[in-house]
Amino acid sequence: MAGVSGLVRRPLQQVSGLLRRRFHQTAPAALQVTVREALNQGMDEELERDEKVFLLGEEVAQYDGAYKVSRGLWKKYGDKRIIDTPISEMGFAGIAVGAAMAGLRPICEFMTFNFSMQAIDQVINSAAKTYYMSAGFQPVPIVFRGPNGASAGVAAQHSQCFAAWYGHCPGLKVVSPWNSEDAKGLIKSAIRDNNPVVMLENELMYGVPFELPPEAQSKDFLIPIGKAKIERPGTHITVVAHSRPVGHCLEAATVLSKEGIECEVINMRTIRPMDIETIEASVMKTNHLITVEGGWPQFGVGAEICARIMEGPAFNFLDAPAVRVTGADVPMPYAKILEDNSVPQVKDIIFAIKKTLNV
C-alpha cells in the first residue's frame, strides 16, 4: 500500500507522453496503462471529439490536477475548455449544472467526493431530478467525477465512500471503475451519456498499471453503463464487488483456488442502474453469494444486492444466506493499525467466503 501511495505522490514524468506516442501507432499488442493515464486519455479523446465538452474543478488546469489526472489537458485545450475554479464546490457545481442545462457537456471534478457533500444539493436537486420534473424537456448531460472512498491515512473527513448515497437517487447514473479499461470506457460513456453521471474513482488505483487490450485502445471504445463484467469465472461462489475491492476479490480467489474453491468474481462497474441480472445468473449457477465494498455496511451497496436477490429468481438457488464484506461501521481512523482494520482486507473476504461455503 505504501508503494502505491508513493506512486500517487510522485509525478509521472516522461511515461505518459511516451505512451501517447506509442498509442498513435497501430500497436496490436496490449499496452500497460495506469488508471490515471486511462482517465486522462478518455477525457482527452472526448474533449477532442466534441467541443461542447469541458472540464472544471479545483487545480484541474495549471496544476495538472490535484492527482495529476488532467495532466497536459490545459496545455492542449486552454482556458476555455479546462477551468480552474476557486474553492467553491456548491457554486461551481451549480455553475456546471447550469451550463449543462444550456447545452454544454461539462465534466465537474470534485477533488474528492467528500467535498461533493458541499454541493450535493446541486447534484441531486438540480441535476438528477430535472429531466423527470420537466417531463422529459430538460436533460442535464453532466459528469461529476473524482476520487471516492478510503485512501491511505487521510482520516475520517477524507475517506468516505459515496456509492450508496448517490446510488440511492433515481435520475442519476453512478459508475465505479476498477481497472484502466473500466476507467477509460466508463469515462467516455459517461461523457457521451445525456444524463447526469457520477463517476466514483479511487485514488489508490490511479497509479496502478493494467494491460489495456487492443479494443480498449480505440477512440470509440466505450463500456456500457449498467453492465457488470465477470472478471473471473467460477463455480462455487459468486463474489460481487466494485472499485478497488475487485482486486482484493481476485487475490482472494487466487488463494482459494489452491484449496479447490473456484470463485466467480463480478466487477459491478455500474452502481446504478445495477446489473442485477448478471449477479442473479451467477448465483443461480454457484448457489452462494458474497458482496464486497469499501463503504459502510448500513444501507449500502451490498445491502441493496442482497435485497434484490431476495426479490428475484436467484433466491431459491441460494444454499446459504448472502454475506456482506464492507468497511467497518466507524468513521475512518487515522492510525495505521486501526485504518487497516476498517477497510475490507483479503483475509476478511476469504473468511466470509469460507463461512458461506461452510468450509
Binding site: 495549471q62 496544476y63 476557486p86 457554486g91 458541499q118 464492507t326 467497518a328 492510525a335 495505521k336
Partner: protein, 390 residues
C-alpha cells in the same frame, strides 16, 4: 578588553548554571522592555485601528521567540518524519506563519476560543497542547492528543476546536462558538480562521451575515498566504482585499509576519467584539515556506526566488530576534540557548512519537457516541465485532 572577555565568559558559563547567572545577566545587561513601531493596518469601515507602536517586555519577547521557534522546529521535524514515512496521509505545515499563531494567542485569553482549518499544528501548540502529543498524533500513536484516531487535521484541545478537513466548514462553526460565547455572557470571543482559498466559500458569507445580524463576538481571520493550494489569489478571487470581503463587517489588514503587529491587531479586534459591537474581520498577510502539503513541492506555481526573498526579508522569527537584540532585550547567545532547548524538546517529542505504540485494535469502535451505554460495532464482516464505548 579584559572586562568584555570576562563578561562574555560569564554569559557563556551561565549556560551551565542557569537561574542565578540569568538573573544576574538580566538585571545587569538587558532592558526590561522596549517600544517598537509597527506597521499601520489598512482599515475597512473603521475610524481608528490598532496602535502603531507597542511595548514589548523582555519576558514576553523571550516567550514569543521560544513559542515561534518551537512551532518552526516542530513543523520541520514533521517534514522529516513524513519523508521517513513515519507520518502518513496529509500533512500541512505552517513554517513561515509562526507569527500568526503566536501573535493571535498573545492577543487573547486562554478562556477565549479558536478554530481553524487543516494547517493547524501551530495553533494546537499555542492553544496549549505539548509538542509530544502533537507529534504522537501525527505518527498515529496512542499518546497522541486524539489517541491516534484523528491525525494531522483533527487535533482538539480545550477551547480549540480543531483541525478541520473540509475547506471553509470551520467558519460557520466558529460563528456558532461565538454564538455560544454571547449566549453564556462571559465576554469570551471566538477566533475563526480560514485561508485565502477558503475565502471564496459561500458558507463563509452566510456566517458573515448571521454573525453581523446577531452581533456575535466572532473575529473572522483570513490567513492570506497568497496561494490556495496551487492557485494564486489573483486567479481565485475577484477581490483580493480579503479584509473587505465581510462587506458590512469592519476589517483590518495586518502584517502577519510581525508577531507584534498581529498581537496588537488581535487585542484591538477582541476589544471590539467584547464591547458588543459584533464581528470583525482581520486579514493576516503571511507566507508558507512549504508547499500546500507534503505532497506538493510548492514550486510549480511560485518561484524559488519568491520563497527565498520572504525567508531572507520577512521571516517572523528573524524579525523578532533582530528587534530584541538591537533593543538590548536579549542577547544572541541567550536566544541561541533557547534554540538548543527547543531542539531538545522537539527531539524528545519525536522520540516519544516514534516509540509510542499504536492505539489498541480493541478500541477501533470506541467514541462513536457520547454518553451512551456500550454497544457493538460491525467490522469488515458480520463475524468481526468491536465494542463501542463512549
Amino acid at each position: 578588553m579584559r572586562k568584555m572577555l570576562a563578561a562574555v565568559s560569564r554569559v557563556l558559563s551561565g549556560a551551565a548554571q542557569k537561574p542565578a547567572s540569568r538573573v544576574l545577566v538580566a538585571s545587569r545587561n538587558f532592558a526590561n522592555d522596549a517600544t517598537f513601531e509597527i506597521k499601520k493596518c489598512d482599515l475597512h469601515r473603521l475610524e481608528e485601528g490598532p496602535p502603531v507602536t507597542t511595548v514589548l517586555t523582555r519576558e514576553d519577547g523571550l516567550k514569543y521567540y521560544k513559542m515561534m521557534q518551537t512551532v518552526r522546529r516542530m513543523e520541520l521535524k514533521a517534514d522529516q518524519l513524513y519523508k521517513q514515512k513515519i507520518i502518513r496521509g496529509f500533512c500541512h505545515l505552517c513554517d513561515g506563519q509562526e507569527a500568526c499563531c503566536v501573535g493571535l494567542e498573545a492577543g487573547i485569553n486562554p478562556t477565549d476560543h479558536l478554530i481553524t482549518a487543516y494547517r493547524a499544528h501551530g495553533f494546537t501548540y499555542t492553544r496549549g497542547l505539548p509538542v509530544r502529543e502533537i507529534l504522537a498524533e501525527l505518527t498515529g500513536r496512542r499518546g497522541g492528543c486524539a489517541k491516534g484516531k484523528g491525525g494531522s487535521m483533527h487535533m482538539y484541545a480545550r477551547n480549540f476546536y480543531g483541525g478541520n478537513g473540509i475547506v471553509g466548514a470551520q467558519v460557520p462553526l466558529g460563528a456558532g462558538i461565538a454564538l455560544a460565547c454571547k449566549y453564556n455572557g462571559k465576554d469570551e470571543v471566538c477566533l475563526t480562521l480560514y485561508g485565502d482559498g477558503a475565502a471564496n466559500q459561500g458558507q463563509i458569507f452566510e456566517a458573515y451575515n448571521m454573525a453581523a445580524l446577531w452581533k456575535l463576538p466572532c473575529i473572522f481571520i483570513c490567513e492570506n498566504n497568497r496561494y490556495g493550494m496551487g492557485t494564486s489569489v489573483e486567479r481565485a478571487a475577484a477581490s483580493t482585499d480579503y479584509y473587505k470581503r465581510g462587506d458590512f463587517i469592519p476589517g483590518l489588514r495586518v502584517d502577519g509576519m510581525d508577531v507584534l503587529c498581529v498581537r496588537e491587531a488581535t487585542k484591538f479586534a477582541a476589544a471590539h467584539c467584547r464591547s458588543g459591537k459584533g464581528p470583525i474581520l482581520m486579514e493576516l498577510q503571511t507566507y508558507r515556506y512549504h508547499g500546500h502539503s507534503m505532497s506538493d513541492p510548492g514550486v510549480s506555481y511560485r518561484t524559488r526566488e519568491e520563497i527565498q526573498e520572504v525567508r531572507s526579508k520577512s521571516d517572523p522569527i528573524m524579525l523578532l530576534k533582530d528587534r530584541m537584540v538591537n533593543s538590548n532585550l536579549a542577547s544572541v547567545e541567550e536566544l541561541k540557548e533557547i534554540d538548543v532547548e527547543v531542539r531538545k524538546e522537539i527531539e524528545d517529542a519525536a522520540q516519544f512519537a516514534t516509540a509510542d505504540p499504536e492505539p489498541p485494535l480493541e478500541e477501533l469502535g470506541y467514541h462513536i457516541y457520547s454518553n451512551d451505554p456500550p454497544f457493538e460495532v460491525r467490522g469488515a464482516n458480520q463475524w468481526i465485532k468491536f465494542k463501542s464505548v463512549s
